[in-house]
């Protein structure tokens, strides 16, 4: 299983568009079925990014992004109520993860069960900041632009340099590998949450 982590610092108001570009770029490289790139391609911050022409995936991403921004806004309320807790008002963290699974059939002694085994996980760590003024806002946008370009380039490098872990494509389905987008809420992505997750599983 390959774990990839992406860190990005964004204006709270840019998060939705920029993270969408990152997610789209990841999925574009990881939906191994036959895809048609969205044409004309989408752009954010003058950067063109590839998108699979798949309305279902698109709405899933939108839904998750809504969740993500909601988490950020909730955490901001919490931060307002709590004393200084590491993150100031204007700096907030969030995380969104994409997992790709391989369907495996496991034969037990008396039963056959299908399970999904994760072969790749992308974690995007987002630091959300709220610019104090317009100049800062412009600067943050500029920085977001360069970060996004770097990140898409990096995605391209990663997928090209790491190919051996991709499971064989054993199906003619449109998408051979199930995927999942998850957003741990703020309290969850501490170590405690990891244990909790394990317990749940």
């Amino acid at each position: 299983m390959l774990l990839i982590t992406i860190d990005i610092v964004l204006d709270r108001l840019l998060i939705r568009d920029v993270i969408k570009a990152v997610l789209s770029s990841i999925f574009f490289h990881r939906l191994f079925g036959s895809v048609r790139p969205l044409s004309p391609p989408r752009e954010v911050l003058d950067i063109t990014y590839p998108t699979v022409d798949d309305s279902a995936l698109d709405s899933l991403i939108d839904e998750k992004l809504t969740h993500l921004t909601a988490v950020l806004d909730t955490s901001s309320q919490n931060a307002a109520n709590q004393p200084y807790s590491g993150a100031t008002q204007r700096h907030r963290k969030a995380q969104i993860a994409v997992n790709f699974f391989e369907k495996k059939t496991r034969k037990a002694w008396f039963s056959k069960s299908e399970e999904e085994v994760c072969w790749e996980e992308w974690t995007i760590n987002i630091l959300s900041i709220t610019p104090r003024n317009e100049t800062e806002k412009v600067r943050v946008a500029k920085s977001a632009e360069s970060q996004l370009q770097t990140i898409i380039m990096k995605i391209i490098d990663i997928v090209n340099d790491n190919r051996d872990h991709i499971p064989p494509i054993a199906t003619t389905e449109a998408n051979p590998f199930p995927y999942q987008i998850s957003i741990p809420s703020e309290t969850e992505y501490t170590w405690g949450s990891v244990f909790k997750k394990i317990l749940v599983e």
């Binding site: 982590t5 860190d7 990005i8 610092v9 204006d11 108001l13 840019l14 568009d17 490289h29 191994f32 079925g33 036959s34 895809v35 790139p37 391609p41 752009e43 911050l45 003058d46 950067i47 590839p50 993150a87 100031t88 008002q89 204007r90 700096h91 963290k93 760590n125 630091l127 709220t130 104090r132 003024n133 317009e134 100049t135 800062e136 806002k137 412009v138 600067r139 946008a141 500029k142 920085s143 977001a144 632009e145 970060q147 370009q149 770097t150 898409i152 380039m153 990096k154 995605i155 391209i156 997928v159 090209n160 340099d161 190919r163 991709i166 064989p168 494509i169 054993a170 199906t171 003619t172």
Partner: protein, 831 residues
């Protein structure tokens, strides 16, 4: 081999993937050999298509939607689904690609030479440039480099202009030599799976390179046909690539930079027939522009100057005097040409925006003010800006405005006496849309404007003769070119003509024959300049808008008419009415402004048509008028001086970035990232956060006039810059808002790139103001605590972004023009 067979082949390979029989070496299994051949052939053709389709328009292959049905009316584009990437199939370059589409793995294995590398070049076609146009390329800091000069420096004869510049060279090859090292050749399904990844990433990658950005810009400006074209060339890699007759990839164009190109190789894919690789070498600076031949001169000297005086002196006197000397170097006779460069830089997307008018006033305005009233007006505006700027500290005052003003003092005085000396808009005169300024000052003087066109061509050729470039023929040879550069002039004609209309027939928009005749005559002039360039049409709207907005400022138009007038002009500005009159253009085009253009024979019918069209254009005109606000506003804070200032001390704040950053390891732990942010003083003081928010709230209600005036005020009051801060902020935060309309209007006519650039520069200017000695001490302190290198907290953030993504080697920001969306999305989601 043939593409219809391609799709079944994909399925076959999938079948193999599901656990079919173990594939032996090619020789043992003929069907396997055939499949391998198919894969190899499609490697080449698909890679070529992915690249070519991102760089130039191609012909799709149209075929019957249902070949079996008798119904032959349903057609669809043929899709190439190879490697699970569905693209329109095309026969562009079919012949050139034939060699690779017929590749045979067995032959390749036997003889490497049988399948040479496939080379695809992306080239910039400059054949359509006229002799008085100069091609420049912008470097990362926005400095312009004359391509011809660079070519000459590179050993090309100065009198020959190369019609082609190589931007990228892709090499796609199958190297059988690696086969031996391979051991067990990978199975085809593995090859296919890896190829899926490769082609996906190739598809994404071609859209991140500088050439894509450049082409995107060109196509966004397609209503204003550029003389530049990007196209592709398919070459056989067996032969050496020749730079004969063109500017090769290895010839540097940005001369102060060692490496003008960068390379990237995609991870190879091992196949039973060899290793398949895709490699690209590309120019890092692909932002080309067409410039007036002379403006580049000043820029050239400016560049030289910058190099010798990198350390930018801050004192007013030093800066001022140096600029003077620099300009006089570039054009001793009269330093006018330097006036071009600032406005030039700001009006990037329209190659000819104001050259005709700017240059023409020069020879005439001092001698015969009446002969070229427009230029005189411009001079007047410039002069007033000079007065303003003289109270403005050093770094923002420009050689350009000073020189222009100096050159036209006399005419300016004359004009000044004949009109209210108050500028309705506190906008710098050399802003990229001079039309609005001049229009405001010249609201009532259209008869003089109308005969300006006659004198313009001669003055242009005068101007050209003074050009110091030896290979530039003077004259009107630039036929089409000139009409473009003249368009702003005609722009003036139109609104002023309409002003006349509105004053004579205030309330009826067209039933009277008299007014109808005037309407049609204004069409005559409009159609002419519409031939030239489309952006000028938005300049016209800007002018119109300025008239409307500024009418209370003394332009003499009855204010009651403004709305009707503006509406009518906006209606005119949609394309369809123009098309209606297309057949008549030629005759109408030559008509005088007051003239007979359409004649009186058919005015009634045509006006009736207009009125029908009116509703359908309402939406369009709304969005356009919104975009006009930008056109008009965004240049405002950017005095012409800024460009020269920018390339000096604060220039780095504009565009310190490479257009494209190599992929870099970006591993900073999250904790570190946060830590780093917390250390930044910039982010620690929340003092004015609330205030800023308030100013945001204000934004919605701020009137256009106010927003236009604000930057001017800020300039006046720079002494207490901090106090003005809020106001300036709000005026800037206004800017993003119209971008919404901007985006809507982009498809119709406004050039979003350009305005975006202007917008950003206007913002950057504010940043520069902050760092000026008198204001923004808070920020300066922060910066210096960070480390003396950065002159502005702009830089600070860039530095931070570098840290965050883990690149310390080169600044990452790829583009110097933030898309409208960049500014726009925050504004939108803010609600």
């Amino acid at each position: 081999m043939s593409l219809p067979a391609a799709v079944p082949a994909v399925q076959d390979l999938r079948g193999l993937a599901t656990g079919g029989p173990v594939i032996g070496p090619p020789v043992k299994d003929p069907s396997h050999a055939a499949k391998l051949n198919q894969v190899i052939q499609n490697f080449f053709s698909k890679a070529a298509q992915v690249i070519i389709q991102s760089r130039m328009p191609v012909n799709p292959i149209i075929m019957p939607a249902n070949p079996d049905a008798a119904d032959a009316t349903a057609f669809q584009k043929k899709t190439n689904k190879w490697f699970n990437l569905e693209l329109d199939d095309t026969d562009t370059f079919r012949d050139e690609l034939r060699l690779w589409k017929a590749a045979d793995a067995a032959l390749v294995t036997a003889s490497f030479a049988s399948l040479p590398p496939l080379l695809i070049e992306t080239v910039l076609d400059t054949r359509d440039l006229t002799a008085n146009q100069t091609l420049v390329v912008l470097d990362d800091e926005g400095k312009r480099w004359n391509v011809d000069a660079a070519a000459t420096a590179g050993g090309i004869r100065a009198d020959v202009r190369r019609p082609e510049i190589v931007l990228e060279r892709w090499r796609i090859e199958l190297d059988p030599r690696s086969i031996n090292a391979l051991g067990v050749p990978p199975e085809l399904p593995v090859v296919y799976k890896r190829s899926i990844v490769l082609f996906r990433s190739l598809y994404a990658y071609v859209r991140l390179l500088p050439a894509w950005r450049f082409r995107k810009k060109l196509s966004k400006a397609k209503l204003n046909p550029s003389s530049l074209k990007v196209s592709c060339r398919v070459l056989n890699g067996a032969y050496p690539v020749s730079s004969r007759g063109r500017i090769g990839l290895s010839m540097p164009l940005v001369l102060d930079r060692k490496d003008n190109t960068q390379s990237h190789t995609f991870n190879k894919i091992d196949t039973p027939a060899g290793a398949f690789t895709v490699h690209v070498t590309y120019r890092k600076n692909c932002e080309f522009r067409v410039d007036d031949s002379e403006s580049i001169l000043s820029s050239h000297f400016l560049n030289l100057d910058e190099h010798s005086t990198r350390k930018y002196a801050n004192t007013t006197a030093a800066a001022g005097s140096r600029r003077y000397s620099r300009t006089s170097k570039s054009s001793p006779a009269n330093s006018l040409p330097s006036a071009h460069s600032p406005s030039r830089e700001l009006s990037q997307p329209d190659p000819g925006l104001s050259y005709g008018s700017l240059s023409s006033f020069h020879p005439q305005s001092t001698a015969v003010p009446g002969a070229s009233p427009l230029s005189a007006l411009r001079g007047a505006v410039t002069g007033s800006s000079l007065e303003r700027e003289s109270s403005f500290p050093s770094s923002l005052s420009s050689s350009a405005s000073r020189n222009v003003a100096a050159g036209t003092r006399t005419s300016l005085k004359q004009i000044d006496t004949s009109r209210p000396s108050i500028q309705p808009f506190k906008s710098p005169a050399l802003s990229a849309s001079p039309s609005s300024d001049s229009m405001v000052t010249g609201g009532g003087s259209y008869p003089r404007l109308s005969y300006y066109r006659g004198s313009s061509s001669s003055s242009i050729s005068n101007h050209q003769q003074r050009a110091q470039r030896p290979n530039m023929p003077s004259t009107a040879s630039g036929g089409q070119r000139q009409s473009t550069s003249m368009s702003p002039i005609n722009t003036f004609n139109t609104p002023s003509g309409l002003l006349a209309v509105s004053s004579s027939s205030a309330d009826s928009s067209g039933s009277r024959p008299e007014s109808s005749r005037r309407y049609s005559s204004s069409f005559g002039s409009r159609s002419q300049w519409h031939h030239g360039s489309t952006p000028s049409s938005s300049a016209t709207i800007a002018a119109q808008q300025a008239v409307v907005d500024g009418s209370t400022g003394g332009s003499g138009t009855p204010s009651d008419d403004d709305n009707d007038l503006g509406e009518f002009v906006r209606m005119l500005d949609s394309r369809r009415p123009l098309k209606l009159f297309t057949p008549r253009r030629d005759s109408a085009g030559a008509a005088d402004l007051t003239g007979v253009g359409m004649g009186t024979s058919a005015p009634r019918t045509s006006l009736a048509r207009f009125q029908q069209l009116r509703d359908s254009h309402a939406i369009l005109s709304d969005s356009m008028s919104a975009s006009v606000v930008i056109q008009q506003r965004s240049p405002v804070p950017v005095s012409g001086s800024y460009s020269s200032t920018g390339s000096g001390g604060s220039g780095k704040a504009i565009s310190p970035h490479t257009p494209h950053t190599p992929a870099i390891p970006s591993r900073l732990s999250e904790g570190l990232t946060v830590e780093y942010y917390r250390d930044q003083p910039v982010f620690e003081d929340d003092d004015d956060e609330v205030a800023v928010l308030e100013s945001h709230v204000d934004d919605g209600g701020v009137s256009r006039c106010r927003s236009v005036k604000k930057p001017g005020l800020a300039k006046h009051d720079e002494e207490d810059e901090l106090a003005v801060d809020e106001g300036a902020d709000s005026s800037m935060s206004l800017a993003p808002a119209p971008q919404t309309h901007m985006a809507a209007a982009a498809t119709s006519r406004s050039n979003s790139c350009g305005s975006g650039g202007m917008l950003r520069e206007s913002i950057a200017k504010r940043a520069a103001m902050r760092s000026s000695p008198s204001g923004g001490s808070v920020h300066s302190n922060e910066v210096s605590s960070h480390g003396g290198h950065y002159g502005d907290d702009d830089e600070l953030l860039f530095a931070m972004s570098d840290m965050v993504v883990g690149t310390n080697t080169s600044p990452p920001a790829p583009a110097r023009t933030p898309s409208p969306k960049a500014a726009h999305s925050p504004a939108q989601s803010q609600e």
